[in-house]
Point group: C2
DNA sequence: ACCTGAACACCGTTCAAGT
DNA sequence: ACCTGAACACCGTTCAAGT
């Protein structure tokens, strides 16, 4: 159908109207994601936000799959890699936190970002930073790549848990925590039951920090053991 | 439409016909996933495989979202946790490998499994095993939960990369590797260019092993430093 | 208790026709 | 060069009607 006003027409827009562009589409798509989640992204909803027909998008992006890839690239492309200090632990930590900040800027998009082919061009900038730190810290070439991939796995795995967790899993919500705890205790699995109080809650920021510190310690121990 | 034979009818099946069941639906859904990928799963395709109308599925499962959750649970529920040996490193390694084996049994389902709310009931058995090992190795209660979550992040992050990588990224395919290498060199990012030969290829099994060993070393170092 | 026909409100995508 | 009408082949889901 398209816009319902009486001046609906075909062909290119009358002069003065904003032209459709890849950037405008991406911005609109990100708005949909932030407002209603990835599931609400469709060619039609995105186009509607631009007051344009869904089919028009095909002139600027490569179908829906291409749109989702582009959204992921957009989010990951906004990682602001901090300047290096020369202190490896500090630098690696800062890059990991920058990654998390970018993911948390669009919480609803996080699973999209983490789930798509990550080593796309957009993620090469943070990868470059990590590799540079590792090489300066004394890692061999092949070793640096293994360590990069290990660090990336920790970051991605941690952020994915955070993205998938129900919103209330974090702070407050003592009721939800009590419910989960009761569920865990009902399993009868001894360690699960014993640790139910700890398992029923999750401070995502602290958990991310813990995993990253553990990984960094492992990396540095490995590099200094030489 | 349903089956096109001339005896189409409504109501419950004539006696002798197999009844629809949650298990039958899950099995059919897993067949679709293995044969054509998660994207090919729809109420209609799954129902067609059972020669049943799509709407019939609603009597046994909670809509499409419920179906996807159930598939993920099914795959993860098949993790065969090995018996403990008392050697923490060996036991943790074995659990991680069991996790990978389950994921690789249904490669097309992997991203589904890793992406959904993981701490569902199905994943509690492997979690119990990890926690038990950690506690025996001397971890404090809260610490054991942090370490479990860190280990899970490494495993999930690694398997997610493996699942998302294009099939050819692994072995052979020297052409694809050469292409990727050329792409990486064109970025001009110094460390990326220097390490392009290593970055262009990825032995998933070795990479998984490396990340897991690094994580286990970190865990044990932390627990023995006391 | 279980299955389906009719129906609804959505999808992504192609392609020819318009300006 | 860019946009859309018409059209197609799909979706998930509700609900009343059948046995």
């Amino acid at each position: 159908m398209g816009p319902v006003n009486s001046t609906t027409r075909r062909g290119r827009p009358r002069k003065g109207e904003l032209r459709l562009s890849r950037n405008a589409i991406l911005a609109a798509a990100l708005e949909v994601v932030d407002a209603e989640g990835v599931a609400a992204v469709s060619m039609r909803t995105v186009a509607a936000r631009l007051e344009v027909d869904a089919k028009s998008l095909y002139h600027h992006i490569d179908g829906k799959e291409g749109l989702l890839d582009a959204i992921a690239g957009e989010v990951i492309g906004r990682i602001e890699v901090p300047e290096q200090t020369g202190e490896p632990a500090e630098d690696l930590r800062a890059i990991a936190q920058a990654f998390r900040r970018a993911a948390r800027a669009h919480p609803q998009a996080a699973s999209l970002v983490l789930t798509r082919q990550l080593p796309g061009p957009a993620s090469l900038v943070p990868a470059e930073a990590v590799l540079s730190v590792l090489r300066k810290a004394g890692a061999e070439p092949a070793e640096a790549v293994h360590l990069l991939r290990s660090l990336l796995a920790v970051v991605v795995g941690s952020l994915l848990r955070e993205a998938n967790a129900e919103p209330a899993f974090g702070v407050g919500d003592e009721d939800g925590i009590a419910d989960r705890r009761a569920d865990l205790e009902r399993t009868g699995l001894p360690s699960i039951v014993e640790l139910a109080p700890e398992l029923a809650r999750c401070d995502h920021e602290a958990e991310f920090g813990f995993a990253v510190e553990l990984a960094i310690a492992a990396v540095l121990a490995r590099l200094s053991r030489r």
